[in-house]
Amino acid sequence: MNSTTDLRYVYAVTRPFDGLPPEGARGISGQPPRLVRHGDLVAVVDAVPAADFEEGPLKARLEDLDWLAGTARAHDAVVAALATVTCPVPLRLATVCRDDSGVRRLLEEGGERFERALDRLDGRMEWGVKVYAEEPAPPAEPASPRPSAGAGQARGSGRDYLRRRMEARRSREADWGRADALSRRLHAELSAQAEAAALHRPQDAKLSGVAGVNVLNAAYLVDRTRGQEFADLVHGYAEEGVQVRLTGPWVPYSFAGIGAEDEPPAGAATEPGDGTQTAVRP
């Protein structure tokens, strides 16, 4: 590792805290992160090679799913470890400074926003909730008519085929309708119980590997002490043909960019399922 050519990857910002970064918080470099303090704020940083993290190579790396996955997991591992000893305000993936003085300038320039985020996130965690309309099982196909079947029987099987197609379509639309209605009820109730809510884009089934249409992909900011209660609430929502999945607790990435004065009130997020993102702004 060459300190003159290494850049500084910034994972998160915290207040000064006692002790070292917790064990197990090995980041992208494989080493525990370093703390850079400026005033009342601390940046948690890692030395990363310029050959990989300068703008040009970084752009190429971000196109590589394996690299992206490894980097995201390492970033989250550091952030999660910090959460056991302090309140980390996570930065977006791939925030890189040239050197330590650049890191200090980052803390200076972003000071007010980091302070607001620390106040907002301290003592809270994020829970993710996704709702899917399940793929209906394909309707049972009766045996095809034998070649010697008469004309009447052939017309009947044509009608049968169309009827099965229509039933399958109605069944699918009914499932989507149920999933949509459940999503709206669930989002309204969870938004009322949480301190803030954010909507992410529905996930593509090809990317997530989940069969079914993702109708709601939401995140909720919840006080640490109310996490179990919140999870129990989600588990109470169950309906035929609809899948509800809970993830978390996460460090609140989805709420890190929000300051107290520009946060929408809970429940004011836009309609679920329209693909827009609310309450997450640079």
């Binding site: 910002v13 993290f53 300068e54 703008e55 970084l58 752009k59 971000l62 196109e63 590589d64 799913l65 992206l68 996955a69 995201a72 970033h75 989250d76 591992a77 999660a80 305000v89 996570p90 930065l91 977006r92 993936l93 791939a94 925030t95 890189v96 400074c97 980052l106 320039e109 926003r113 980091f114 965690m125 994020e126 993710g128 992410h200 884009r201 996930q203 990317l207 590997g209 989940v210 992909n217 989600v234 588990h235 929502y237 309906e239 035929e240 609809v242 899948q243 999945r245 809970l246 993830t247 978390g248 607790p249 996460w250 460090v251 990435y253 989805s254 890190a256 960019g257 997450v280 640079p282």
Partner: protein, 74 residues
């Protein structure tokens, strides 16, 4: 039917392989679209990039001459 996924990300126990694939998408929802974003000449950052394109492009295909790079030249 409720099918809760074991807590994924942010320090939870490792998930089985199938769920690990799902968890990656959840992780990227947060790492690519969440977190504090700072712009300016103080940092190198992908903050200015249209993250929808980074998100989908990274996961679906590689950039080639038919698929222009999502990155602006700064």
């Amino acid at each position: 039917m409720s099918a809760p996924v074991p807590a994924a990300g942010s320090g939870a126990a490792a998930s089985p392989l199938a769920e690990r694939r799902i968890a990656l998408v959840d992780l990227l929802d947060r790492l690519l679209a969440g977190g504090v974003v700072l712009t300016g000449d103080l940092t190198l950052s992908i903050a200015d990039v249209d993250l929808v394109r980074v998100d989908l492009r990274a996961l679906i295909s590689s950039v080639n001459e038919n698929v222009p790079s999502p990155f602006e030249v700064r």
